[in-house]
């Protein structure tokens, strides 16, 4: 068991290195010269050829690629991601940590909505397969997969905020501000998970252990909840857990619709301002979250599932 966890953690390292390398290559492929950019950041009035050469030496840009990469990784590990190009008085770390909480709150509340809605709906769709309820839900699920998230957001603003004046259109601060954006983020994932849970439960219903539970004369409700649902949850919870970073990434669009001051808004603003260090750090952050959450839920699953648990003899 322990060796499995250690192995799994070790196997994540090359992936993290790959992601960091891609991010490093990314900033080195930008059309502008880093030395020139650095001078601009320092607000040097006249940028001369000599000054550029001097800065190059100073920043170690003449060193071999690998040396520079290792130095950059070292800086990242010390949480030093450089300074913002557009606003040199701010560090990238400062910008990211300023925006992170808002995105985190949004992603988490969406996650709660996803779990609270998709579990029972998926469960009842599977139990009452092909009933009117199931068919209606399947229709809605189908439609939501064709709906762009930002449009849903706009519709919600128009209907709920403007027409009925129930909730604020944009911004953040109170619970009221949170409802519409998190609902919008959740919507796409709800349909995915309803489908996942429904199909997974239907798959489980065909298993022999369900037949044998019936043979033993267990109550239908016991079989559904204690056996089928528990088995389905084992797969589905892991899938939902792994989608947390996806939710974080999914907020990009919605944050821009609702003017939610999170990472997504920062990212889009940085793309327009060509603020490369911020984009680079954002990509690095989300990539790392992906790897970490995959790892985390792999390990959780291996602990929770007795078949994967090694015997402690």
């Amino acid at each position: 068991m322990k060796s499995y966890i250690v192995n799994r953690i070790l196997s994540a390292i090359p992936l993290l290195l790959m992601i960091s390398f891609l991010c490093f290559v990314f900033i080195n492929m930008i059309p502008s010269d880093p030395a020139e950019v650095a001078l601009r950041v320092r607000q040097t009035p006249v940028i001369t050829e000599e000054a550029i050469l001097q800065v190059r030496e100073e920043l170690g840009l003449n060193d071999p690629y690998l040396v520079r990469y290792l130095r950059w990784v070292g800086d990242c590990l010390k949480l030093d991601f450089g300074v913002s190009y557009t606003n040199p008085s701010r560090t990238v770390l400062g910008e990211i940590s300023r925006c992170f909480p808002a995105t985190f709150v949004l992603a988490m509340s969406s996650l709660v909505i996803v779990i609270v809605l998709s579990l029972p709906i998926g469960f009842f769709c599977a139990v009452y397969k092909d009933s009117l309820f199931d068919r209606i839900v399947r229709g809605i699920v189908f439609m939501t997969t064709a709906m762009p998230a930002y449009w849903v957001g706009l519709l919600l603003i128009w209907l709920i905020s403007i027409k009925w004046d129930l909730l604020p259109t944009s911004g953040s601060g109170t619970i009221k501000h949170l409802i519409l954006p998190s609902l919008t983020v959740a919507l796409t994932y709800i349909s995915t998970y309803i489908r996942l849970i429904r199909n997974n439960m239907l798959e489980n219903m065909k298993e022999d252990y369900v037949l044998y539970a019936n043979v033993r004369g267990l109550k239908q409700s016991t079989i559904l909840v204690r056996h089928i649902l528990k088995n389905s949850l084992h797969t589905c919870i892991v899938a939902i857990g792994m989608s947390v970073p996806q939710l974080m990434a999914g907020t990009i669009v919605v944050e821009n619709v609702f003017a939610w001051p999170g990472l997504g808004k920062l990212c889009i603003a940085s793309i327009f301002n060509r603020d490369y260090p911020v984009i680079q750090t954002y990509v690095l952050l989300i990539g790392t979250l992906f790897v970490v959450f995959n790892l985390l839920f792999d390990i959780i699953q291996s602990i929770a599932d007795p078949r994967l648990r090694r015997e402690v003899s």
């Binding site: 992936l15 790959m18 992601i19 891609l22 990314f26 492929m29 930008i30 059309p31 399947r138 189908f142 439609m143 997969t145 064709a146 709906m147 762009p148 998230a149 930002y150 449009w151 706009l154 519709l155 603003i157 128009w158 403007i162 489908r195 429904r198 199909n199 239907l202 970073p245 996806q246 990434a249 999914g250 990009i252 669009v253 821009n256 619709v257 990212c267 889009i268 940085s270 793309i271 327009f272 060509r274 490369y276 984009i279 954002y282 990509v283 989300i286 990539g287 992906f290 790897v291």
Partner: protein, 274 residues
């Protein structure tokens, strides 16, 4: 396969519907009542009328005409994306599946990395790096999607490469490229058609999202995502301007998804569920 396809009523209806949409896009100048770029500032936010069936936007442009012209970039760009994706995926998948050895090793490692990375973030990263432009959006979409096709095609090629008709044509002495294109491609074409149809919907959504954020098709061009971007600011005064393009996206994407599902049923009658 074709007979089964024609029997599937849903597939035929969706195919017909999409054909009509495509024709409407092609013959946009004939169908559109007005010039989509012509400003008529005095008539801004006009309601429904004979001259402007869906009213006008904040610059007094005819919304219906812009919708009809909007078919062009929407369909064209998504088809272009899919062509690029399938092209790149095909070439790399065929190379990997057919030649094996180090070629396969390199390609499949690249596929693994591509698939383990969050695709949404990749699009933004690529657009950020290359600059805000439609071409870059398409390039980004191709770059994140090709891996799926490469993997699917490789698996299929592995399945087919040892079948008798391929072995036979090698015995007869046909050249490798000839074998690849003459025999392998047709045998995997049907499966690819299903996947590609479903992915066109994905591409439309993705491109329109980027256009909405201002990273794709730029403002004056009538594209549904970009139209929504403009509509966002005048939502209070003119909701039609926001509802129409969104609805159009939903309908077209849903049509592609339904067609894809119907195609899959036609190809494989076993998988009927959801």
């Amino acid at each position: 396969m074709w007979r089964r396809f024609l029997k599937n009523r849903m597939a035929v209806i969706m195919m017909g519907f999409l054909a009509v949409i495509t024709l409407a896009g092609v013959f946009a100048p004939l169908l559109a009542p007005n010039d989509p770029y012509a400003n008529d500032i005095l008539n801004k936010f006009a309601g429904f009328s004979l001259k402007y069936p869906l009213g006008t936007d904040q610059l007094g442009r005819c919304i219906l005409s812009r919708m009809i012209y909007g078919i062009r970039p929407t369909l064209f760009l998504s088809l272009l994306t899919m062509t690029g994706t399938i092209g790149l995926g095909c070439i790399l998948g065929l190379l990997a599946g057919y030649f094996r050895g180090p070629v396969e090793e390199i390609i499949m490692r690249a596929v693994d990395v591509m698939m383990s990375f969050p695709s949404q973030i990749m699009v933004f990263a690529v657009v950020a790096l290359l600059g805000v432009d439609v071409r870059n959006v398409i390039l980004a979409n191709v770059l994140i999607k090709w891996a799926w096709y490469a993997r699917m095609i490789r698996t299929n090629v592995m399945k087919y490469r040892d079948k008798n008709f391929v072995l036979f044509s090698r015995c007869v002495g046909s050249g490798e490229p000839f074998i690849l294109f003459r025999h392998l491609l047709p045998s995997i074409a049907s499966e690819m058609a299903v996947l590609a149809t479903l992915d066109i919907g994905w591409a439309i959504l993705n491109i329109s999202t980027l256009s909405f954020l201002g990273l794709g098709v730029q403002a004056p061009t009538p594209e549904w995502g970009a139209m929504l971007n403009e509509a966002k600011n005048v939502m209070t005064t003119n909701p039609v301007q926001m509802i129409a393009p969104g609805l159009a996206i939903v309908i077209v994407v849903a049509a592609f998804n339904l067609l894809g599902d119907a195609l899959r049923d036609a190809l494989d009658p076993k998988e009927v569920d959801v």
